[in-house]
Symmetry: C2
DNA sequence: TAGTGGTCTAGACCACGGC
DNA sequence: CCGTGGTCTAGACCACTAT
């Protein structure tokens, strides 16, 4: 079925890790040594390690042997589809509440990616305000989430405070709700894909890695029109995160079931 | 910043696709031709195409030149955190309602992956009932979702009908709710990772590709204990799917905000 | 300074698709 | 049949780490 050499290597290493031959946190043998042991070329070993990394078994750091993940395939849960609020403002992730920016957030004016322009309702290539920041848990050296926020310039014109560095208590969302005098409605979309080069740098993800991207669109109404006032794209290394939530029942799925009640 | 040859190639091809130089649905030039045009080795071109594929720009089919995706970076939305019901039973995905199995579903008894055993509450290596099926939209030739369902054997012993091929109207969920006389509660977790070899075969995803995996756990209560009665893992090619839902407000995020009301 | 990871080239092989 | 994609080996280079 699968005879490919790199898969044989991957399968063998996976089994060894599951069996505890290599302790979590420890390094695997170096590339050349594994190549010799399996009798394959070093490049083939590297393909196998790439596969193990995207499955969450090992972490690849530059110029260091592969490291066995603490708890293979276990991930941090980051979203639960609910928005909370504390004295500082809204937050969408209970865990990330204490996280801090790795370096000062940036903001600039430039055109967003096409798919962002499409949902923002601006023309492709048209400038928007882009705020970017890299977040990490206290004590961590690596950035774990790259958050990019896109704001249409017509909104910045109406509400100049959101264009500055200090957006006041509660941040831009509070300013927007005050301005429109209504609650914001959010919608999230989750996607998995290979990392852009920006993400590779910010999150130290290898080119062969995977990122999970949560795209959050903020909407308000004005004169019966639906306006998208912000888009926030948060990307994170896929091996380290999972998105989790409880499933709620549509009316059609109410319990006890109608069929049961009617039955007789 | 990024001088790597394969990224240069990827960036150039991405720009060409965005600019419309290659129409959606059309093939890109062959590997050797691109290699000559960019003055790099064919292997380098291949790395670039892998990257474009995981970003959703192109589709790689075996032994055929890369094909430009119909609408680059656009994905089918499959879940919205709500469960519905029709005359047949529960369903979790409005789009997939009309999908059919590519071949007859299988069922067998074997140990599940460790992480499934852990949430099912069975010992690692202990046998469970595994049902597997590959779903595709009507008319499609490729499987688009691989759904694997894990059921603990103690439940099969109590409720033998769920071990058979024909589980009756409404399927196993209806049988379970009847048996426990209470509604099932579901919980979903979303993860992105590289494909297993089973997924590579079932979904025709290349080894370098990415899959989105939605793991749904079904729980009931008995004697104040929480029992996990089933785990369903549905994996799909990440470039073709997105998970999407509306964000709901926690009490702490009610609107109008208390601060506004108190303020004065 | 020796070893390593990450990338790249050159050349090879095989299975398969289109002609 | 030739061309293609996917994989593999051999050998090279560079930036970096550990010593």
């Amino acid at each position: 079925m699968t005879e490919d050499a790199y898969e044989v290597v991957a399968t063998e290493l996976r089994a060894a890790i599951d069996a505890g031959d290599y302790a979590p946190g420890q390094q695997l043998p170096s590339g050349p040594k594994l190549a010799e042991r399996f009798g394959v070329h070093r490049g083939t070993v590297y393909r196998a390690l790439e596969a193990l990394a995207t499955e969450g078994y090992v972490t690849l750091e530059k110029r260091r042997p592969a490291i066995v993940r603490e708890r293979p395939r276990e991930r941090m849960v980051v979203r639960d589809r609910v928005v909370y609020r504390d004295e500082i403002g809204y937050f969408f992730d209970q865990n990330a509440k204490t996280w801090r920016p790795v370096k000062p957030p940036t903001h600039r004016i430039a055109p967003p990616p096409n798919h962002v322009a499409d949902t923002l309702g601006t023309a492709r290539g048209e400038n928007v305000l882009i705020r970017e920041r890299i977040m990490a848990p206290p004590g961590a050296k690596r950035g774990l989430q790259l958050a990019i926020s896109y704001l249409p310039l017509w909104l910045v014109a109406e509400l100049p405070v959101i264009g500055g560095s200090n957006t006041g208590p509660g941040g831009i969302y509070d300013r927007i709700e005050e301005h429109f005098d209504q609650p914001i409605r959010w919608h999230e979309t989750i996607v998995g894909r290979g990392p852009t080069s920006v993400e590779q740098d910010a999150l130290t993800v290898p080119a062969s890695g995977v990122v999970l991207v949560v795209t959050r669109a903020a909407q308000v109404e004005r004169e019966d029109e639906e306006l998208t006032v912000e888009i926030n794209e948060t990307s994170m290394p896929a091996e380290q995160f999972a998105v989790s939530y409880a499933v709620t029942r549509d009316e059609s799925a109410a319990w006890p079931r109608e069929a049961d009640a009617d039955e007789s």
